[in-house]
Subunit: 125 residues, 2 copies
Amino acid sequence: MATTRDRQLVEQWRSIQDSYFRTAGAIDRALEAKFDIGLNEFEILDLVAESTDAACRMKSLGERTPMTQSAVSKVVDRLEKAGLVSRQTCADDRRSLFLELTDAGRALHESAAVEHRALLKENLG
Amino acid sequence: MATTRDRQLVEQWRSIQDSYFRTAGAIDRALEAKFDIGLNEFEILDLVAESTDAACRMKSLGERTPMTQSAVSKVVDRLEKAGLVSRQTCADDRRSLFLELTDAGRALHESAAVEHRALLKENLG
DNA sequence: CCAAGCTATATGACACGTCATTGAATGACA
DNA sequence: TGTCATTCAATGACGTGTCATATAGCTTGG
């Protein structure tokens, strides 16, 4: 039974999807073009950049993004390969790692964040 | 320069991401578990189901979802393999195809739509 | 202090989406 | 009508995400 309430829900959902994909797509393409990193890479970079504590963070990153633990691990692989972050072993728990921006990483993050914020503003109104 | 406006934007964006992924994820897992189709498959099924005209529709589907043309093509592959839709050649333009639900497709769509709507209501409030 | 279980991260197999390209059909225009 | 550009859909190569599992280190109860 297709109620009008159902139709409303579906319309609402499609509009969410649409604006989500448009925004994410625009940011992703812009970052890719100008800084050669994808949106997920940037978002991890952004999380690392805003972490002030020296805590062990691979774990805590996982809690602050919808990405899977293994997705985070692979994104960090790429960031590390690109020389933007480095994994530091953690003295008090040797299973854990924490991440540090390299100088290159910090520099790139600063420019990319400007772009990111601008596109958010443009797309979220 | 990180303004508080920037922080607001970022918070807003993360909250959108979060609710988008939670909703999409919940629906996807439920449909996968109960009907053995993913969210994208369902959404194409849903679009086909609500198309009344007998127009050639592969094309028009592409305009009603954020999916790529090639993504749509592959989703339809899977739906066809699963016996839920069939591709019909189009007399007035032989490049085009239109899609039809099979009986199985219609039946599955009816049950799955109930679940889909329920989860939307639950997640979109 | 050892065994059993738990936690943090990495990895391999696999599924799916994207981009670029192809093939086929159509349209447009000299 | 013959050429050239355009449009619709399919496909292959490739990147990245997920799930299940592996590995290593920590923890706890006997």
